[in-house]
Symmetry: C2
């Protein structure tokens, strides 16, 4: 993942929230959404602390750094906090995404409600396999990779979800960057950060995650012997 740049206080529009706090915000976002679902309108830092298993002082520190909405004795306004965190994270900015590589993982992601939940609109699907081109997933049909550049010339796309096979990753990422797509959500297992320094890249390395789990098991097993 590209490191989130530090806030620069001289730029008035720049976020003044530290990268460390920003990394914790998606978690607050999830818990606040859960509270909204439950119909809660206020929560104390103590209760949020117990729910999230973080100290109440950490929560106060995190949330106060973008406005201090907590009121002694009243707690936090859940909806206001949720809206503010959404704003900071760019949820609801109406980002448009395409999914490139409609294999098993790509088509599973297209169907995942997470895009809609985060205000990201999936506007195009691409694959190079003629057998897949034209197939419908929801309201979209799969386009031919040959038409990628012409599509990108006509449609604003902020995010490419990259789920092509490893061997194709570099070449497709180059095409996306050359066509001006500013962000790549990278599931290929390749590291693209070094290759595309001007693109915002967020990688999900599933294999690495599985290995961390195996290592955790190995370590926990050793304790029992």
């Amino acid at each position: 993942m590209k490191q989130i740049k530090n806030a620069r206080p001289t730029h008035p529009e720049k976020s003044e929230v530290s990268p460390a706090v920003v990394n914790r915000l998606p978690r607050y976002f999830r818990y606040l959404r859960e509270l909204i679902r439950q119909g809660r309108s206020r929560i104390s830092s103590g209760e949020l602390s117990e729910m999230m298993n973080v100290t109440a002082s950490q929560i106060r520190q995190d949330l106060n750094c973008f406005g201090g909405f907590g009121q002694q004795g009243y707690g936090y306004n859940v909806n206001f906090l949720y809206a503010k965190i959404s704003e900071i994270l760019g949820v609801g900015e109406g980002y448009a995404a395409i999914v490139v590589g409609i294999g098993n993982l790509g088509s599973a992601l297209v169907r995942n409600p997470m895009f809609e939940n985060r205000g990201v609109d999936v506007v195009g699907l691409f694959d190079s396999d003629p057998a897949k081109v034209g197939a419908a997933i929801g309201e979209l049909s799969v386009r031919d990779m040959k038409d990628l550049e012409s599509f990108l010339g006509q449609t604003r796309v902020d995010i490419a979800v990259l789920t092509v096979p490893k061997d194709a990753a570099d070449a497709v990422a180059d095409r996306l960057a050359a066509a001006g797509v500013p962000g790549i959500w990278n599931f290929t297992g390749c590291e693209l950060d070094h290759r595309l320094p001007d693109t915002v890249i967020e990688s999900v390395h599933l294999g690495d995650s599985l290995m961390r789990l195996c290592f955790g098991l190995r370590e926990s097993g050793k304790e029992e012997t």
Copy 2:
């Protein structure tokens, strides 16, 4: 993700590699596998450094801490290093996994070669939807969730890949832990760590990752205005 426990030097079987190094090992594993694919048998720390965009001294420090295989002027033995890292990470321990929740994401994961690549054997698939029970994915057919405990009573399972809907996550995780499954690879978006302190949990929060990407885009966009 459950924090990886610190090495305890008093326990001879315990890994003596620090958690920070362990977190970097899956990345070495990926690059070394790529080198093996290319038929390379040796690599210098300088070349590995350029390839991985990490300083050569960091590489020497990381790799020397489990044996110092690098030879001045000869570099590292790629196969030996790969085998050693695999051993540390628990690849090839023959872990057995089940996938619980055969929706779009669950079935995409079952078909992903990553399990085989990491030496994890998928031995069972479970879903509560009668329409899915009995369906075949590769050589396995989907079992009924009702039969989870009886299956786990007969078959050693190290890892449950949890891809059930959010609303079902807590209850299913409780069943897995009660039946003695030691590790959960959690894709539900729920946090299970606090709930199941004795289970090794590795979570992939896709929604959080998407939000980090949106935040990165928002920050990079601001710079241009």
